[in-house]
């Protein structure tokens, strides 16, 4: 199917990871990492949001169910949210969602939340590196087609 992320098995599997980065801290941190010419794997696709609290659970669930290999939500450190409180909500929601995903059998590394500030270019690069390798080690997120036909001729 079109939006399935990666080739099955073996060599040549490159995980596709979706990153939500909040405008004021983590996106700026990402920018700093870029300007500082820090090396990091190129598997992440970044979507900028104004605040990490903008990330609704359906963003994460849809991404994983449709076959993206991982989702990473980056926000300001708790206490430093540009909007004062947003990331406190992210913290609560993220924890519940992470537990729920794990409960239905999705590897916990596939959904992560990290706090990256605007001055932490190095942390951004390290986070990307770490998360990419963790998710790479898990293998492709098998698209869940089950026994109902997702492809013609399956039935």
């Amino acid at each position: 199917m079109a939006s399935e992320s990666s080739d099955e098995g073996g060599n040549g599997y490159e995980p596709k990871i979706l990153v939500f980065a909040c405008n004021w801290c983590s996106y700026a941190g990402a920018d700093l990492a870029g300007v500082s010419r820090l090396q990091m794997p190129a598997n992440c696709r970044i979507i900028r949001v104004m605040c990490s609290a903008r990330v609704r659970p359906e963003f994460v669930v849809t991404a994983l169910s449709k076959g993206l290999d991982g989702v990473l939500v980056l926000g300001c450190h708790p206490g430093d949210c540009h909007y004062s409180e947003g990331n406190y909500f992210t913290r609560r929601r993220g924890l519940l969602l992470k537990n729920l995903l794990q409960f239905v059998g999705i590897e916990p590394e596939r959904f992560q939340v990290r706090w990256v500030s605007a001055s932490e270019g190095a942390k951004f690069a390290d986070t990307v590196e770490q998360v990419t390798e963790q998710i790479r080690a898990l293998g492709p997120n098998r698209p869940r087609s089950g026994n109902q036909s997702a492809e013609p001729g399956d039935r």
Partner: protein
């Protein structure tokens, strides 16, 4: 073909022979639910059931099926048709209410607008109906709609349990072909047996549906629908368990460059079923949608397709409706001679 019999012990052997040549589908139990599903051997079947929850219309008109796949390569669009069936099939254990529903669905999918997916499934499937255990479930009312739980009409073979054996009525070529597979397992009845081996008569309350349609058609603006729709949750369960309901939605999954076009079940009880792009909704509230449902079953479907009422009395809807809306009550209410009774 004359009536024959097969012993209960031999039924499994015959079905296993069938499973060797066809895809055998029959009633199975999983998580307390009876479903019609493919089996490798007769051992996987259950005979301890009244009827399946999801009706066997799902085997001809599935809850989801891919119609075709498409791929865009440059300026060219490649289409890949889906083959509905890999193998000819035999469905064992279907009840006469559901057999009756297939005749109604045939009007929709096989008449002037032919649906090749449904049609192929219908043509390549042989039906072995299993007469209902008597007494039928207390909720059943198929005889109200002219269905006989003990008749082979509409199926290819009818099996009737009469104690140690099943009576076997093969009434079509397809049916006879299957019986031939069993060869020595089938024995013709002696004259004595013809008289002796009879199932008990069906004892089922029958509702009076004489003049139902005419009376219903006078009630379009009646307040009855406001009251009836109060407990309705618009959940759609009635549609999904009904053997004659056939509304569907079509949608593409994937991207415009690479995807699959699906057909899937839909329900007119949903708020957005008739909602149009302009924002206009001809059935904006539960009142209109509930009214529409009963009009469809008892007026518009018969009128459109020249059939009897589009209900087979299987009672699934009234058993499973969380709001307790009961089609039998609706029929009684409409038929009450003094006009609609105060419910």
């Amino acid at each position: 073909m004359d009536r024959q019999k097969i012993s209960k012990a031999d039924l499994g052997r015959w079905l296993d022979t069938i499973a060797g040549k066809y895809e055998l589908i029959g009633p199975t139990e999983d998580e307390d639910i009876i479903q019609f599903g493919p089996v490798q051997s007769s051992a996987e079947l259950t005979l301890d059931y009244a009827n399946s929850l999801i009706p066997p219309k799902s085997l001809f008109f599935p809850p989801v099926e891919s119609l075709f796949a498409f791929r865009k390569r440059g300026k060219e669009i490649q289409l890949e048709e889906t083959k509905p069936l890999q193998q000819d099939r035999v469905i064992f254990g279907i009840r006469n209410c559901d057999v009756g529903s297939l005749s109604l669905l045939d009007r929709v999918f096989c008449d002037d607008l032919e649906d090749s997916y449904y049609r192929e499934r219908r043509e390549r499937t042989t039906l072995i109906a299993l007469a209902c255990p008597t007494p039928p479930r207390s909720s059943c009312f198929c005889t109200t709609f002219g269905i006989d739980p003990l008749s082979p009409a509409g199926s290819d073979i009818l099996l009737t349990d009469v104690g140690d054996v099943y009576l076997v009525d093969a009434v079509t070529d397809k049916g006879e072909k299957l019986v031939a597979l069993g060869e020595d397992l089938f024995v013709s009845l002696t004259e004595g047996e013809e008289k002796e081996l009879q199932p008990p008569p069906v004892d089922m309350p029958q509702l009076d549906v004489g003049g139902l349609r005419e009376r219903l058609e006078t009630l379009w603006e009646d307040e009855y629908w406001d009251k009836l729709s109060l407990p309705c949750l618009g959940c759609g369960i009635c549609t999904y368990v009904c053997p004659t309901c056939h509304c569907f939605d079509i949608s593409d999954v994937g991207s415009t460059a690479d995807g699959v076009r699906y057909r899937c079940w839909d329900s007119c009880m949903y708020n957005d079923f008739a909602l149009m792009v302009s924002g206009v909704n001809p059935r904006p509230s539960k009142r209109e949608r509930t009214r529409n449902r009963y009009f469809h079953k008892f007026s518009t479907f018969p009128s459109r397709y020249g059939t009897g009422y589009a209900c087979v009395g299987c009672a699934r809807c009234l058993v499973h409706c969380p709001g307790g809306v009961e089609i039998t009550e609706v029929i009684k209410d409409i038929s009450a001679k003094e006009g609609v009774s105060d419910r």
